[in-house]
């Protein structure tokens, strides 16, 4: 069975300088795959290439076997590709609930006029989305904060809101860009539980992280990126002991 996400020799240059060079990887459904590497290795660039925010210089991206290399970002999002951002990007003045509900956009069925005029179908849909969003909040333990201003909450809470929003899209592929950066171990561990359950429900998860320890316990397969190139891949233990990987991290 083909993996949900396949990258074939993906490359991206910026005026002759390769930011990402001949990267090939696979992210199968139901597992957590890790993409690690020192700072500046190009991990976020890879994510941007996958989600269509950056165009590929060469190579192919396949989503469930379909070539999506030329697809635009909104199309990829509608096809079930969700991501979180390295620097948290929420609507600070909107409530937690409103932020999460935004993620349901791709599932909206009520037409434009129904929404413009506030017809029953739009209201029913809004109610349904609110309920689903509250369910997500419950899963993340934040129901008491539903009405609070997202911008005024703690870092840990904001990371969760981003996560909930990404999950609201019910993705096939979830890209997590350094989701536990700046968290202590206990907080990170609680999020890890959620990642595991998301993967278990059949989603393909690509975890981009800088923190080796966190990644070890969570991922079934690892890719290591350094200076835009893949320098190692395989089982976490083996990769962790690979001398090239150790050097890349120590040298960084």
């Amino acid at each position: 069975m083909t993996a949900t996400l396949v990258l074939q020799d993906v490359a991206r240059h910026f005026g002759g300088v390769p930011a990402v060079d001949k990267v090939s990887l696979q992210v199968p459904a139901g597992q957590i795959t890790g993409l690690i590497g020192p700072n500046g290795a190009g991990k976020t660039t890879v994510v941007n290439l996958i989600t269509g925010l950056l165009h590929l210089s060469s190579g192919k991206v396949l989503l469930d076997g379909r070539d999506v290399s030329r697809d635009e970002a909104p199309d990829l999002a509608r096809a079930g590709v969700a991501r979180t951002f390295q620097n948290i990007r929420l609507v600070p003045d909107a409530s937690v609930l409103e932020n999460v509900v935004a993620g349901f956009h791709r599932h909206e069925k009520a037409g434009l006029w129904a929404n413009l005029l506030g017809l029953p179908s739009a209201r029913a849909e809004a109610k349904w989305m609110n309920e689903r969003a509250m369910a997500l909040l419950e899963r993340f333990g934040m129901t008491a904060l539903a009405e609070h201003r997202a911008g005024g909450l703690s870092y840990g809470h904001q990371r969760r809101i981003e996560m909930m929003r990404a999950l609201a899209t019910e993705p096939r592929l979830l890209l997590l860009d350094e989701p536990v950066a700046g968290m202590n171990d206990a907080e990170a561990e609680s999020l890890a539980g959620i990642f595991r359950s998301v993967a278990a429900s059949g989603v393909a998860v690509l975890l981009i992280e800088h923190n080796m320890r966190f990644v070890m316990s969570l991922c079934s397969h690892l890719y290591v990126l350094a200076s835009g190139r893949l320098i190692a891949e395989g089982q976490p233990d083996a990769v962790g002991r690979d001398p090239m990987v150790v050097e890349a991290y120590l040298g960084a």
Binding site: R89, D93, A110, L116, G156, E187
Partner: protein, 314 residues
């Protein structure tokens, strides 16, 4: 009491017309479209309506509808190319539009009577008509803001990258906002024509452009109330205080500067946010610490990291 009302009736009418124009400006700014074209579409609506009544003998209400349609059609045509632009470019393009319409109304004398304007427009848009129109428009806009269109616009305005990553088609919502704005402006212009007996090109120039922008900046661009509050304040101030009337431009200028630097969300939006925060604080229990997910005893857990869990800011 009624005496008071009659004395200020024309001021009230003026507020209502400008409320429509401010709402037209609000709609685009809420969606993150930096259009300054309200005055241009208002001119089209006003002249379309006025000329149909005075030169073609149309019945006034039909002319109002036609004027509105003219504004809507123009904005619909322009919405497509304009939705490909961003920020500064949209601003300059719509500014050019206002200038083009202004030039046309001033120079196409055979049709528009040039700088003398159009006179003798029957006053069919009395206070009752204006009030009903504004109420209906406000209801529709509040509904729009509450459901998918408003939500999508908010995300687009705040962070276009996020909107795109959630599958929201930015050009589509930009177009909707722009066309709605043209409709409201056209309507406002037509009603201005039919509530003040005469129109001149100068009314729809940069004075109107700046005024409507100032109203939305002052009141707030994320909620309908912002536009209404802004329109009410800026239309009333010159009447209440002579000094504001004489120095209208300076006041608007200083207001714009002070508000955008120190109170960027505008008066109404800031007040709404403050009220909401106060309501939450009064009702809520102390903020729970970052709970360990899935742990049923989480609400009793001690804070994991007190320095990070700083809690809600006012």
């Amino acid at each position: 009491m009624m005496n008071f009302f009659y004395t200020y009736q024309s001021l009230f009418d003026h507020i209502l017309v400008y409320a429509l124009l401010a709402l037209s400006q609000y709609v685009v700014l809420r969606a993150g479209v930096f259009s300054l074209g309200t005055a241009g579409f208002a001119a089209l609506g006003a002249y379309g309506c006025a000329l149909l009544i005075t030169k073609a003998g149309w019945p006034p209400f039909a002319a109002i509808v036609a004027g509105t349609m003219l504004g809507t059609l123009a904005s619909a045509l322009l919405a497509f190319p304009l939705s490909r632009l961003r920020g500064v470019f949209q601003a300059v393009a719509t500014l050019a539009l206002v200038q083009i319409v202004l030039s046309a109304t001033q120079n196409w004398v055979s049709v528009t009577n040039g700088a003398l304007g159009v006179n003798g427009i029957p006053k069919v848009a009395g206070t009752g008509v204006l009030l009903s129109v504004v109420v209906v428009v406000v209801l529709l806009l509040v509904a729009m803001g509450r459901y998918s269109v408003g939500r999508a616009m908010d995300v687009i305005r705040e962070d276009e990258t996020v909107a795109v990553s959630l599958g929201i088609s930015v050009p589509y919502y930009h177009r909707i906002a722009f066309i709605l704005s043209g409709l409201l402006a056209g309507l406002g212009g037509a009603l201005q024509a039919t509530s003040s007996y005469a129109i001149t090109p100068g009314e729809f120039g940069f004075g109107m452009l700046v005024a409507t922008l100032a109203m939305v900046v002052l009141g707030g661009r994320t909620s309908v109330w912002g536009a209404l509050v802004g329109a009410a304040i800026l239309t009333t101030l010159p009447e209440l205080f002579r000094v504001f009337a004489d120095y209208r431009n300076v006041v608007q200028g200083i207001l714009l500067l002070l508000v955008i630097v120190y109170l960027p969300r505008g008066v109404a939006d800031t007040v709404i946010a403050m009220l909401r925060d106060r309501r939450l604080r009064r009702r809520a229990t102390p903020l729970p610490a970052d709970p360990v997910v899935g742990d049923p005893a989480s609400t009793g857990a001690p804070p994991v990291n007190p320095s990070i869990d700083a809690g809600v800011h006012a």
